[in-house]
Amino acid sequence: MNKYNPPRMNPSSLRSRFATRFLRSLSKINAKKPTASSSSPTEIFRRYRRIKVAADKSMAYSVRSRRTWSRAMLWKLRTRPCCRRSVKTSTIVRKTRHEKQNKNTTTTTGEDGVVFGVEADELRELVPGGEAMDLYNLLDETAHYIKCLTTQVQVMKKIADFYSP
C-alpha cells in the first residue's frame, strides 16, 4: 500500500508561519461574515480591508520584531483602527512629526547620496518604517521586505487556487 507522504515542510520557516496565521485569521473573518449580503459596496470594501489587514498583520507577526519594517507595520496596524480616540491621535501626530524630523536629518549625503536622492525617498515611503533609516539599513530592510512579500504572495495565491474551483 502506497502511503501518500505530503512533502515535508520546514515547520519554522517564514512560509509556514505566515500560512498558519493567515489561514487562522481568514477562518475568523469567514466566521464573522454575514451570510446574506456581501453585495453592498461598503461592506465589500470593508471585507477587503479586513482581509488585507489580516494578511499584513500575519506577515508582520511571523517576523515578530526582528526587523524594523515589521515593527513599524505592527505599530501602524495597532494604532490605525483606534484613530478615533484623541489620545491616540496625539501620539500618532507626535510620531509622524518625529518621523519627519528623522527624515530631515537622515538625508543621504556624500557621493552615494547625490545619486540616490529621489529614489531613496521613494523607497522609504514604500517600505514601512523606512523614514528613519539611512541608506544602508534601508537597503537591508528592503531585501527582507521583498522576501517576505514574495512569500506572502505565493501563499495567498496557493490558498486562492485551493479554495476556488
Binding site: F45, Y48, V115, F116, A143, K157
Partner: protein, 390 residues
C-alpha cells in the same frame, strides 16, 4: 642640538631648583656668603645678580653664536664656570625670544618629562630677566635675537624636520590615488557596503541587469510596488470565498471571448483600483470603488448606459489584448509591471475583457474592464475593474 637642549633643560632645572646645588657651588667658588641661600625665593635674583656682577663676559653676538654652537660639556654638573651658567640662561632666553617656549619643547622632542619643567623654568627665567630691566642686558638682547636667530632656527629646523616625518611614517601608507583621510576611508567603506547590499537585492529582484545603481534602485522600487499591489489584489480575490463575485473582483469569463488572457485556476483574474500615487490608498480607493459600484449597478440594468456612464467619466471598456497593446505602447518605463504580470501567469492584475457587449449577460460571469485613458505613465495601467454577475 637636542642633547644640548636637554642638557640645558637639566641645567635650568638644576639652576632653579630649590635645592640650589649649582648656585651653592658657584657661590662657594666665588666666595659669596652662603647665608644668602637661607630664603629660597629671592635667592634666584641674588644668584643672578652675583653672576652678573662677578663675571665679565663679552656680549657680542658673534661670541654668543660661537658659544651656541659649542656643546656644553659641563652643563648639568657643578658648572664651576658661572659664565657657562649665564650662557645657558642667555641661550634659554634667546630661544624664548625667537621661538617661544613650546617650540623649544617640541624641538627637543625627547624630554617629555623635561618639557613641563623646562617651560616652567623658561617662563620663570624670562620673568627674572624682565624683572631686571638692565640696560646691559637690554642692549645685547636684540643682537642676540638677531644674531642667533638664524642659528636657533637652523638648529630647530632640522630638529623639526626630523620630528615631523616621524609622525606620518606611523600612519598607513596610502595607495596611489587614494587618501588616508579618515573621512574618505569611511566613505569608501560605506560605498562598499552599499554595493554589497545592492548585489544582494539584485538577486531577489527579477530583471536584474545591473547597469548602474540608479536604474537598479528604480527596478527595486517598481518591484516592491508590484508586490504590494499583488497582495492587495489577492486579498480582494478572496472576498466571499469560493467563486463569489463582488464588484471589486473581476473573474475570468468561463466561456470568455478569445481576448481573455487570464488562465489561473480559480479564474480569479483581478484588476484593481489603482492609484496614481500610492500615498493615500484609502481615499483614492474609496473614490474608485464608488465608480465601480455605479458601473456595476448600471451594467446590471443596461449595458449601454453603463458604457455611457464610463465614457462620461473618461473611462472605457476594451478587450485585454488591446489594453496590453496600448499600455506597452505608451508606458515605456513602467512596462515592467506588465511584463511581470504576463510571464508569471499568475493572477493578472490587468484588465480583463468582456466577451463583447453584444453577447449579453448570458455568461455566468462577466468581466468588465475600465481603463483610464488619461494617465498610463505611472505604473502600468491605471484601471479599475468591476464585475457583475447577472
Amino acid at each position: 642640538m637636542q642633547p644640548a637642549c636637554s642638557r640645558e633643560m637639566q641645567a635650568m632645572d638644576s639652576l632653579l631648583n630649590p635645592t640650589h646645588h649649582l648656585p651653592l657651588q658657584d657661590l662657594q667658588i666665588h666666595g659669596h656668603p652662603p647665608p644668602q641661600f637661607d630664603n629660597p625665593t629671592p635667592s634666584h635674583d641674588d644668584f643672578l645678580e652675583q653672576m652678573l656682577s662677578t663675571a665679565s663676559f663679552p656680549l657680542s653676538s658673534s661670541s654668543w653664536s660661537d658659544i651656541d654652537d659649542n656643546a656644553f660639556p659641563q652643563g648639568g654638573d657643578g658648572g664651576s664656570n658661572p659664565f657657562q651658567a649665564m650662557k645657558m640662561m642667555m641661550m634659554m632666553q634667546q630661544q624664548l625670544l625667537v621661538a617661544g617656549g613650546p617650540t623649544v619643547a617640541s624641538a627637543a622632542a625627547t624630554g617629555g618629562t623635561h618639557q613641563g619643567g623646562g617651560e616652567g623654568s623658561i617662563t620663570s627665567m624670562q620673568a627674572l630677566f624682565n624683572g631686571f630691566g638692565d640696560g646691559s642686558f637690554s642692549h645685547p638682547q636684540p643682537s642676540f635675537g638677531a644674531g642667533s636667530k638664524t642659528d636657533i632656527n637652523q638648529s630647530q629646523g632640522p630638529a623639526a624636520t626630523t620630528a615631523a616625518p616621524e609622525k606620518p611614517k606611523q600612519k598607513v601608507r596610502a595607495r596611489r590615488g587614494q587618501a588616508t583621510d579618515p573621512h574618505s576611508i569611511a566613505e569608501r567603506l560605506r560605498r562598499v557596503r552599499i554595493a554589497e547590499r545592492m548585489k544582494a537585492l539584485q538577486e531577489l529582484v527579477p530583471n536584474a541587469n545591473k547597469t548602474d545603481k540608479a536604474s537598479m534602485l528604480d527596478e527595486i522600487i517598481d518591484y516592491v510596488k508590484f508586490l504590494q499591489l499583488q497582495v492587495k489584489v489577492l486579498s480582494m480575490s478572496r472576498l466571499g470565498g469560493a467563486a463569489a463575485v463582488a464588484p471589486l473582483v473581476a473573474d475570468m469569463p468561463s466561456e470568455g471571448g478569445g481576448d481573455c488572457v487570464q488562465t489561473s485556476a480559480n479564474g480569479g483574474g483581478v484588476s484593481l483600483p489603482r492609484n496614481s500615487n500610492g500615498d493615500q490608498p484609502s481615499s483614492a480607493n474609496d473614490s474608485l470603488t464608488v465608480t465601480e459600484h455605479q458601473v456595476a449597478k448600471l451594467m446590471e440594468e443596461d449595458m449601454g448606459s453603463a458604457m455611457q456612464y464610463l465614457q462620461g467619466k473618461g473611462l472605457c471598456l476594451m478587450p485585454i489584448s488591446l489594453a496590453t497593446a496600448i499600455s506597452t505602447a505608451n508606458s515605456h518605463s513602467r512596462s515592467p509591471m506588465i511584463n511581470h504580470v504576463n510571464p508569471n501567469n499568475g493572477n493578472h492584475l490587468l484588465l480583463q475583457s468582456s466577451g463583447g457587449g453584444g453577447d449579453g449577460p448570458s455568461s455566468p460571469s462577466m468581466s468588465v474592464l475600465t481603463v483610464q485613458s488619461a494617465t498610463l505613465g505611472n505604473g502600468g495601467v491605471d484601471g479599475a475593474a468591476s464585475v457583475s454577475k447577472p
